[in-house]
Symmetry: C2
Subunit: 232 residues, 2 copies
DNA sequence: TCCGCTTTGTTGGAAAACCAACGTATTTAT
DNA sequence: ATAAATACGTTGGTTTTCCAACAAAGCGGA
């Protein structure tokens, strides 16, 4: 376990936990560190959600298969990230996807039941772990909601405005950089790149926005043509 | 506090917690029960996220205001629901929306810090509360992800197929009822009602689905034309 | 500098979604 | 039972998006 101490410092789940406490706590949680070769299955779709996974090294793919046998890559996660934590915390009888090592990887598995059951040693680290876990899930929740509010717009233009507004708000300044190139932005907004590019030009011509490369400026905001509030 | 015992039984956050324990625990958490008149502000946008709210009676609106002063109704929540739990668990410095009583309401506020700090009495209820909270957030997370995977489809048809597939999977049977009328379904999918209706007819004619009122049957599933995996 | 490669913007035709308006069926109220 | 209201399907014209193909601009290496 000692040998992974350097990795631990990059893992948000372990934030604010002193190393000594962390080691004691992981021991108390009976954390397992396992090496998986590329292509090996870490968690099988359909099994009960027991574990929270932490990628200490390597990366994994989350793959969901439907009844007809179609596989879809849900996402790819790099080292430092958690996986299946949502499934475990939701206490699902059956996880809706498999987790597969995308390359040779080192994975730590924590048993959810142990995480949430306060340990008799009353270790502080344990309770911090739960708080960190909760924060991580809650923040993911906020990101999902935000993206949802963008994708619920009907037109390319209003998706762009919704996205740029949130970026502007995040940055605090009127001019800001976005972390995507045009293709990535189009993918993020789920629209077609060239159509989006055309729309951007049109908006620039109309004086709504200005941009150069990845630096944008949102000049005027408008009445929204959004759809009904997300009733999830 | 006693007087609200009947309401408590409908609140998922309190699931599996015996009443006696619950009362003791709420006391130990210093839970406040407050009456708000219609229109009064329960939580102000911009304030630090300290509280988890529980609607014991009445209902609330979540309203977000942007810099230009546009207000948008994010959602409406009925009694029995939680609110602001995501903000609190995400430990935001500043909550991104206000919570306003939509009618005369009875609200319970729990201080997040107290909830996550194990109490010295070591009460079992306390730890159950945390588990329940976590489960609730994680499940919301799953719902959001699922909706996101539907809205990231580009065409009305593939949104319909994505939605009907998940409903089919949920129900377990090939024929299933959906909880929306046509207008609500269109709103949920963020498409136009009449266009959706037309698409449904077309799909029926092609033999992909059949339906009568709210009872649907998904006959064949197809290659997906989905977009890139959600990189949230 | 020149050449190739990638990214971004532009354009035109095809397809899809939007929108309003209307006809029909079903439900609710009187 | 009748009338009114609501929900659903259909249609035609308009707008937007998609798609493929190409042009222009930016970038890196030889």
């Amino acid at each position: 376990m000692q040998q992974y101490l350097t990795q631990f410092s990059h893992i948000l789940l372990f934030e604010h936990i002193p190393q000594a406490d962390l080691l004691r706590s992981l021991n108390c949680l009976n954390a397992q560190v396992i090496h998986f070769e590329k292509g090996n299955i870490i968690l099988h779709q359909g099994e009960p959600a027991r574990f929270i996974g932490i990628i200490l090294d390597g990366s994994v793919n989350i793959i969901s298969s439907d009844i007809s046998g179609n596989h879809t890559l849900v996402t790819h996660l790099q080292h430092g990230n958690l996986f299946a934590e949502t499934f475990a915390c939701a206490e699902l009888d059956s996880i809706p996807a498999s987790v597969i090592a995308a390359e040779d990887s080192v994975i730590m598995l924590l048993e959810y039941k142990r995480v949430i059951t306060g340990c008799r040693n009353g270790c502080m680290a344990h309770s911090l772990l739960v708080t960190n876990l909760m924060r991580s899930i809650a923040r993911k929740n906020l990101r999902l909601s935000q993206k949802l509010s963008i994708l619920s717009r009907r037109s390319t233009r209003s998706k762009l405005i919704a996205y740029l507004s949130t970026e502007k708000q995040k940055s605090g300044t009127s001019r800001f950089m976005i972390p995507y190139d045009r293709q990535e932005l189009a993918d993020f907004l789920c629209v077609e790149r060239s159509a989006m590019s055309a729309e951007l030009s049109k908006m620039k011509k109309e004086g709504i926005i200005s941009f150069r490369k990845n630096e944008f400026e949102l000049l005027a905001v408008h009445q929204d043509d959004g759809c009904a509030p997300p009733s999830v």
